[in-house]
């Protein structure tokens, strides 16, 4: 009962803030609504028992990526925002209708094709320790070590690339 209440509250807030992100006129308000959205998604992760990922979501997404967006928004502070007048070539209402039809389709498929919960997967980590963070750590460092190293190389390349792109003169 408490779980259902929490889930519906969080889901409603997540979707409300997401809609606000894409419809806010002022870009800084848009960014702030995105932060709120991420914080509530982190709360949802805690509800699902993934505490480590919840904290990673706050630290990396809400506390790192969105700060980057906020800096760029402040640096690109335009007098005349891009959507100052209506562009007739863009058919927003048609687009939104199509998107909502797709959403209705997905919901119907989800409701009618409910997957029976399977037993514990055979490829589960051999050490079934109690805490969430230990299980994630084991999986990350034993079975998925190569993707982990590749992800670190990707981040290094992205760091170098971002610095080179944003410098005034090389």
């Amino acid at each position: 009962m408490a779980e259902a209440l929490t889930f519906y509250t969080l889901a409603g807030l997540i979707l409300a803030f997401a809609v606000l992100v894409i419809t806010a006129r002022n870009t800084v308000h848009s960014v702030l609504f995105l932060v709120a959205n991420f914080l509530f998604v982190a709360a949802l992760y805690v509800l699902l028992g993934a505490q480590f990922l919840a904290v990673i979501q706050v630290v990396v997404y809400a506390g790192g990526i969105v700060v980057l967006y906020l800096f760029v928004v402040m640096l690109v502070n335009l007098k005349r925002p891009p959507e100052a007048h209506h562009d007739p070539r863009r058919r927003s209402r048609l687009g939104v209708t199509v998107a909502l039809v797709v959403l209705a389709e997905i919901v119907v498929i989800g409701l009618y094709g409910y997957v029976q919960p399977a037993g514990p997967a055979a490829a589960a980590t051999p050490h079934l320790v109690a805490q969430n963070i230990e299980r994630v750590g084991w999986a990350l460092y034993t079975e998925y070590l190569i993707p982990f190293e590749l992800a670190s190389m990707l981040l290094l390349v992205a760091m170098v690339g971002a610095i080179v792109l944003a410098k005034r003169e090389l």
């Binding site: 259902a4 889930f7 889901a11 979707l15 992100v21 894409i22 870009t27 848009s30 995105l34 959205n37 998604v41 992760y45 699902l48 993934a50 480590f52 990922l53 979501q57 990396v60 997404y61 990526i65 980057l68 967006y69 760029v72 640096l75 690109v76 891009p82 562009d87 863009r90 927003s92 687009g95 998107a99 909502l100 997905i106 919901v107 989800g110 409701l111 409910y114 997957v115 399977a118 514990p120 997967a121 589960a124 969430n132 299980r135 994630v136 999986a139 990350l140 079975e143 998925y144 993707p147 990707l154 981040l155 390349v157 992205a158 690339g161 971002a162 610095i163 792109l165 944003a166 005034r168």
Partner: protein, 101 residues
Amino acid sequence: MVITPTHYLVLSAALFVIGIIGVMTRRNIIVIFMSIELILNAVNINLIAFSSQLQNAVGQVFAIFVVCVAAAEAAVGLGIILAFYRNKETINIDEMNLMRW
């Protein structure tokens, strides 16, 4: 009522669609990037819901990699936006047509 993984799938689908609407209808390129982040979050919710249902940590590992890739993509994308802004003084994606015929 019991919260089944289907609830999380519906939430994730709705968030995904909101992100797609944002990418397709807004012209401010920063808002488009933020909508892409919404899409990635929807995918993460999906992964973690399944990880919780199947009691397997792999979903969360995948979600960590998604966060990682999103961070890299945001950094590089914002660098590109800044470089473009310095040249053309615009963040309207309709005006970013230097390479069109």
